[in-house]
């Protein structure tokens, strides 16, 4: 069952990558404000032209 260890290894690498992303997000202040982003998406610029 070598594939089990391969899959666990791959999945752990992916998970660690996401963990790093999570730590970056927290430390860089991405989550300091956990309310306004949800309101900000509701405002769109006026559409001037299509291309």
């Amino acid at each position: 069952m070598t594939v089990v260890f391969l899959l666990i290894l791959v999945s752990l690498v992916v998970a660690l990558g996401f963990l790093a992303a999570f730590l970056w997000a927290v430390r860089s202040g991405q989550y300091d404000d956990d309310y306004t982003p949800s309101v900000r998406i509701l405002f769109d610029e006026k559409q001037t032209e299509n291309d």
């Binding site: 069952m1 070598t2 594939v3 089990v4 899959l7 791959v10 999945s11 992916v14 998970a15 990558g17 996401f18 992303a21 999570f22 997000a25 991405q30 989550y31 404000d33 956990d34 309310y35 982003p37 949800s38 309101v39 900000r40 998406i41 509701l42 769109d44 559409q47 001037t48 032209e49 299509n50 291309d51």
Partner: protein
Amino acid sequence: MAQVEKFHYDNAIVRNFAYATMIWGLVGMLVGLIIALQLIFPQLNLGIAEVSYGRLRPLHTNAVIFAFVGNGIFTGVYYSLQRLLKARMFSKVLSNFHFWGWQAIIVAAALTLPLGLTSLHEYAELEWPIDLAIALVWIGFGINMFGTILKRRENHLYVAIWFYIATWVTVTVLHVGNNLELPVSAFKSYPVFAGVQDALIQWWYGHNAVAFFLTTPYLGLMYYFLPKAANRPVYSYKLSIIHFWALIFIYIWAGPHHLLYTSLPDWAQSLGTVFSVMLIAPSWGGMLNGLLTLRGAWDRVRQDPILKFMVVAVTAYGMSTFEGPMLSLKSVNAISHFTDWTIGHVHIGALGWNGFLTFGMLYWLIPRLFSTKLYSEKLANTHFWIGTLGIMFYAIPLYWAGWTQSLMWKEFTPDGFLKYGNFLETVTQILPMYAMRVVGGTYIWPEISLWYTIWSRRSAPARSLATKQPKRLHWLARMACTKANTGTAGWKEGLFKCFYLRP
């Protein structure tokens, strides 16, 4: 004096993906209807191998997953990413490469699968040259997305973007992992693993394809388009962040639940079950977050077809993410495995969650992309109701069929022999359920109303005529009205105005 910066979003690419979603949606579902009919009338094979069930079934699954839902993802991502980051897509060339490359891959799939060229991995049947093309196009998409993220004008990454990132990263890993194969000729390859090892890598992929192609990108779309359509912020942004991180750390371990009662080591089977059950928490957190976004706006759900589509979609997400963990319990799996219950389960997800969220998104998006109004709310409402009935007619008979199969397979005579030793006996028993499932195929047709919404924007001035009609008309009067209204736009326009439109 500060200068106000001017930039433009690329809407053309969004429009192209929207068209593709609608075309492939129709094609993929029609193939599904054909094979559903073949299960009742096998003679519809016409004796031709290329259009027989075994060849068309992978075509159906690939078409709805990667062509319909895939293009649906890209439509929503290319629209929302630019707006959430306040930046135009990184590269127009890559956007077009992504679009045309993806469509070419779909066409290649539509040609090779009926010809019987398959690598035999479910949902990854395409042969190695096409696998390479998918990898290339996917990397192009990735560069385009991360390039846009890097040049963003908005520092905060909205939760939807995290879902898109997770989708891209994990699908890359899954695609490479499950397609490790040795080519022996231009159109034939063999996987590097065999037996139960191959099965494990296949279901690690198969399960996570559901997780990271049908779920996470659509959750991103939900977190963008549901608040937009409801015009109110998501119920709890905090919860959405927890939803995301909890989901991606748990999801990838649940694959072995597809291999219960096999020669896979017992601990691996149990691991899959444990993680599946744990998944209920983030999944339901997300579902409730979506539904509670509409608190105080339920009166609008009664009117607005877009919100109706989205509410049913999110509810279907909740139902299938509860059902999934239940099916992964060994005791329940003993009933459901190999039966049509599984088919019913995936279609709640596919038709309800993916299909309805796509339709809701498109009904919201198309008028905005074409700077117009929805042609007819009534038409969209009809689409919603026929679609909902379609889901019911699809799922309920298949649940019934699944339990019937399971009960018959496990029925013994007093002497200890199988009561229904001949498999055919269970097949003939569930034919009525199969017939009712075909009725559920009505889900497909109202999709045409989306096309009508686009097509009709050209005849916008003619619309004002329709408003002059009295509220209720006798059908004879409507016939006369049709005749009178058959002008330059043709009889269809007249028919539509006089028989369909709400005055």
